[in-house]
Amino acid sequence: MDSDTAASPHGLVVCDECDAIWLEPDLNTAHQYPDVENAKCPVCNGGLWGSNSRWANRDDLALLQWDMAINPELDITEG
């Protein structure tokens, strides 16, 4: 989740292996790859891995109205 501008946080689906980016929570839509060394958010052009972005939590997904795409089987159960 990119909160570069506090007024308009936006979400991206990002592969944590290959950095592929989807703009919607649907992997059947087109994806894109960021720059190898200087990955940027395709929405706000901020640093993809910068301090203004973080992995979304359930609340973030609810705020983005992406919670319907959550797959509970993929939940990480932190010990």
């Binding site: 990002v14 944590d16 292996e17 290959c18 894109q32 190898v36 089987e73 993929l74």
Partner: protein, 290 residues
């Protein structure tokens, strides 16, 4: 008359003895007459003293070379550059054959005829004496003499900057593998190597599968290089191109890691022998066993 006859006969016998002695081969002459043998040994003594003297010199040179390794490397450089220097050839041979072990050490020990050449080259390249002097010494000294040029070679070819024993830093934070793959900044972890680090240890709680390389970072890097080389030869490789990314799946035909994560854990972590390799050009995006 009798006396004069006797004298003549005696003189004749003496002449005969002397003539027969002079006609004898020199080896037999030495056997008959120990005097000349002692003389020759005493003649050899100066040679021994000279050798001792040379050994003394070589020890001195060795001590000098202990004091300055940089000077020693210059010496080796100069000997390598001198094609007429037979000692250098001997050194080069011992260096070449060093991996074959003790037998080579013996052959190096046997290379004493080089000392003859040493004397000839003494005037032109006195620095060589320390190295060649060492090669004639006891085994410990010998191995020292052999290791030093190798150390220098290692220093030249494998600088201390090798990361994980394999990667050359080609520019700031950019690392080149022996097969030509580049690991640079990127990924959520900040660097592709930090991302790869995730795949040398299981993450049992990670949803789905998590490929784990055998052999730590070095093992992972070697396997990835191997996979890349096989992929280039299209050996047991499937290749997908997606925009500027190339995704190889390479079957290495042997265990290279295991499947971890939640799925792998449920299946008792089966072994993995394939590698998924995602590249952009020669830049590694990610790689993991599967």
């Amino acid at each position: 008359m009798n006396r004069s006859k006797q004298k003549l006969i005696g003189f004749g016998i003496l002449v005969l003895i002397l003539a027969s002695y002079t006609l004898l081969p020199p080896e037999l002459q030495q056997l008959i007459q120990p005097g000349p043998g002692v003389a020759s040994r005493s003649q050899n003594n100066p040679e021994g003293q000279r050798l001792n003297g040379r050994e003394g010199n070589s020890q001195q040179l060795e001590a000098d070379s202990h004091q300055s390794r940089s000077a020693k490397s210059t010496q080796t450089e100069s000997t390598v550059r001198n094609p007429t220097n037979v000692n250098t050839d001997g050194l080069a041979d011992s260096r070449k054959s060093e991996p074959s072990g003790p037998a080579t050490l013996a052959s190096s020990d046997d290379s004493t005829p080089q000392t003859g050449t040493q004397r000839a080259t003494q005037a032109t390249a006195p620095e060589n004496q320390s190295t060649s002097g060492k090669s004639r010494g006891p085994p410990a000294t010998n191995s020292e003499g052999k290791q030093r040029p190798d150390d220098q070679q290692l220093n030249r070819n494998q600088p201390a900057t090798l990361l994980h024993g394999l990667l050359h830093e080609i520019s700031n934070d950019q690392y080149l593998s022996p097969a030509g793959l580049i690991y640079g900044p990127g990924s959520a972890e900040g660097h592709r190597l930090d991302h790869l680090q995730r795949h040398v240890k299981d993450q049992p709680k990670r949803p789905g599968k998590h490929g784990v390389f055998d052999g730590g970072m070095q093992g992972a890097l070697k396997t990835i290089d191997d996979a890349y080389q096989r992929a280039q030869k299209q050996q047991r490789t499937t290749k997908t191109v997606d925009r500027n990314r190339t995704i190889y799946t390479v079957d290495l035909g042997k265990r290279i890691g295991f499947v971890g994560g939640q799925d792998g854990g449920r299946r008792r972590n089966p072994m993995a022998r394939r590698v998924r390799l995602v590249l952009e050009g020669k830049r590694v995006i990610t790689a993991y066993p599967m």
